[in-house]
């Protein structure tokens, strides 16, 4: 049996991650099997090997762990927008106003813990009113096999009462002093009057050289407690999204002429293209801001159907919009940002000589120019839609979205012919036809009367049955389609909506012209 990654560590043996410390190689992390063999982080590797000779070791890669943690933080944006790391191994997420989307706090925590466990991580999670309290619950509260603990809203003091004082995240000096004073649990700390703590700290001496005064330590402890219980605000910073790549030019003399502005935009496009090349990204949406001397801003936006970083293409898309901008008293700063990015692999340039323009140029460039000048919804492609009703069997997809290939499933009835031109909505016509199911013999359309020479049909298309549920008073009627040809040779696609003898009070069926054949 082959492994997917030959370097991956096996799961069924004790494993320790090691790092070179000042006094030799030290074990930094252990897996569950190694913990069962009583190997602990902090031991030296030689001691650990003495305990268990067959220990597998790998070097810890802190930067990769950090990158993985950042990726996990970005992923957890599904639970709340503000989030960041909490130490090396944890993360906090602000889920204010989110739990109802998951069906309650319990379900939210269950979902989170389940997904993290599915990633292969061991999870301990906590939910509380403040970040500190949640961290305390996550690290020290007894969690069941679900892996999370929730503090009921407003009753945090009770939830935190049983936790040890290390849960507040204090310095070691403070923890030591609190333990010496006999305050082992947060509940005892809360019961103590506040001034008494500073007094008790001053009376006690640890014997080690302290870096802070007893009053300072006491103040720190109380501040942490207040922050945990929500009495004081806590300082925290959410992870910022990566800013979009931005190229900027500032001019000492404001630009007034359109040639000057265009050449400035060309330089910006070159700068932006270089920035995008460094991260192997391409831009899908561009935003150009022109800052005028009198403090106003003009904006021009453009989009591409395929991610690209050609400066010439950017300039081609922006140039018509820039020429429409009023320069006012002059433009003294320009910025060009790529607001939407997509990865774009770098292409290798031709090896020999200069770059020859490909004889068959890219139609995507043309589509970008058309869509940016005329409007994105005016340039479209035809995409199939799964419906047997003819006018709903097709949708218009804007060409700028970049979707080119559509999977066309063959129609189940391959012999039915459809017209290349369709009227939306179908136009009513008056028809002389044989009752009940004959094709038309004469019809009048757009005030011109035609005699039918040949006809084929009927092809019955039943309506979608679920439409009748929404409108029980007036259910939709089936349609009988006929392909007819008049004496001149023009071919039409008409249908009759409704049947003659089905429903007397619905009225006589109505005939419509739906499409034209060639």
């Amino acid at each position: 049996m082959r492994r997917a990654d030959p370097d991956a560590a096996p799961d069924d043996r004790p494993l320790a991650l090691v790092e070179a410390g000042p006094h030799g190689i030290v074990v930094v992390a252990v897996n569950l099997l190694a913990r069962a063999e009583s190997i602990r982080p902090g031991q030296s590797l030689s001691d650990a090997r003495a305990i268990f000779p067959g220990l597998l070791t790998r070097k810890i890669e802190r930067d990769k762990d950090q990158a993985a943690l950042v990726a996990l933080i970005r992923w957890s944006g599904r639970y709340g927008p503000a989030r960041n790391s909490d130490g090396d191994k944890g993360l906090w997420i602000d889920v204010t106003g989110v739990p109802h989307l998951f069906g309650g706090e319990h379900r939210l925590m269950g979902d989170l813990a389940g997904r993290l466990r599915a990633f292969g991580l061991t999870v301990r999670a906590g939910l509380a009113d403040t970040t500190l309290a949640a961290a305390a619950l996550a690290r020290f509260a007894p969690v069941g096999k679900e892996g999370f603990a929730i503090a009921p809203a407003g009753r945090m003091q009770d939830a935190l009462a049983g936790l040890p004082v290390e849960a507040l995240g204090l310095e070691d000096d403070a923890v030591l002093l609190l333990k010496r004073l006999g305050l082992r649990h947060i509940g005892q700390l809360c019961d103590l009057p506040r001034a008494a703590l500073a007094r008790r700290f001053r009376e006690l001496r640890t014997g080690r050289r302290r870096t802070r005064s007893p009053a300072g330590l006491a103040g720190a402890v109380l501040a942490r407690l207040d922050a945990a219980l929500g009495r004081a605000p806590e300082a925290r910073r959410a992870l910022a999204e990566a800013p979009p790549p931005l190229a900027r030019r500032i001019f000492s003399e404001p630009l007034i002429s359109s040639e000057g502005i265009e050449s400035a935009v060309a330089e910006l496009a070159a700068d932006l293209s270089r920035m995008l090349g460094q991260t192997a990204d391409g831009a899908r949406r561009l935003r150009l801001c022109l800052y005028r001397v009198d403090g106003t801003v003009a904006e021009a936006r453009a989009g591409t159907s395929r991610s690209c970083r050609e400066p010439r293409h950017f300039l081609q898309l922006l140039a018509p919009k820039v020429s429409a901008v009023d320069a006012g008293f002059g433009i003294d700063a320009l910025t060009l940002a790529a607001t939407s990015l997509e990865p774009l692999d770098p292409e290798q340039a031709a090896l020999g000589g200069g770059l020859e323009q490909d004889a068959r140029a890219d139609p995507a460039i043309l589509i970008d120019r058309l869509a940016n000048r005329l409007g994105a919804e005016r340039v479209f492609r035809l995409a199939p839609y799964g419906s047997h009703i003819p006018e709903r069997a097709e949708v218009h997809v804007p060409a700028l979205s970049g979707k080119e290939r559509f999977k066309v499933s063959p129609s189940p009835l391959g012999f039915t012919l459809r017209p290349p031109l369709l009227f939306a909505p179908p136009e009513p016509i008056t028809v002389l036809a044989e009752v009940p199911e004959g094709p038309p013999a004469r019809f009048t359309w757009r005030r011109v009367s035609h005699t039918v020479a040949r006809a084929e049909g009927p092809e019955r298309i039943e309506p979608e049955w679920w439409r009748a549920l929404g409108n029980p008073a007036k259910p939709p009627c089936p349609r009988d389609y006929y392909r007819i040809e008049d004496d001149r040779g023009a071919r039409y696609w008409v249908f009759r909506e409704g049947l003659y003898d089905r429903d007397p009070e619905a009225g006589p069926p109505v005939w419509y012209m739906h499409g034209l054949f060639g």
């Binding site: 058309l370 005329l374 340039v379 035809l382 009227f423 020479a453 040809e485 040779g489 023009a490």
Partner: protein, 310 residues
Amino acid sequence: MVQAPVELWVSSVPTSGLPQAAAALRQQKLDSLRARIRRIELAADAGGGRAGQASHAGPEDEAARSQRLAGRVGPPWRLGADEVDALLGPDGLEIGGVHEVKPAAGELGASWAAAWAAALVFSLALGIRRRAPGPILCCRPAALASELGGLYGPGLCTLDLAPDRLVIVEAANAADTLWAVEEGLRSGSLALVLGVLDAVALTPARRLALAAAAHRSPCLLLTHPRAEATAATATRWRVGPAPSAPHPLDEQAPGAPRFMVDLERCRAQPLSAATASFSLEWCDEALCFRLAPGMADRADAACRSGRGAR
């Protein structure tokens, strides 16, 4: 390319002393000026980097350009019906040209939508005959779309044209439509550019012709039946519906589509008669046009009399 300014005045003292010589000299200078302006105009339209040559330059320049746009010299663009192809000349339809397709006018009061549909299907069939890779661009003003109907994907499948080959532009007005057609021609990456317009004036028609010639992109224009003929087109067709072929299985049903096609103008090879009329049938299996065999005279006469004066 920078040109030194040319002196425009003729010397007031004629060298030979005869007024005819002075007139001839002036005429010569004017002719050379006109030729130069034409060359500059074509060079400017052919693109900045390339040294453009006039389209009526010698054959070696044409070959050089077509070598530079290598990969585009494919099979000649023909309809598939021998009698019609014989009229078009040895190279078939001009790939770097503008071709106009007009719906048959019909009599007053008759509905034109059917003739438009026939002309559109004829144009799309020509596009299928082009046999080049690349998308087909179809541009038209939004107002015409509601009058003539929208292109329908499943119907195009029955014509054997994959709907995802089409890029459709519904512009707000005729000027935008013309701009879109010209952009499509300049891009040089399309198999065919189809423009549906009411009428095209002289200057835009010449611009389109120059763009098509420079980038070897074919252009088909569908114009209003009663509008004036567009200038500078390589061919001009007039298409109308014709009674279809008999259906092989059901004698009451319409069969393969047929068109009444008149070739009114062909630049490559002048027509012997004033117009040449054919009844062409589109063959689904071979994807080509065929001359409709043996039409009944009565039906033929009825179609022609229904067309009215042109």
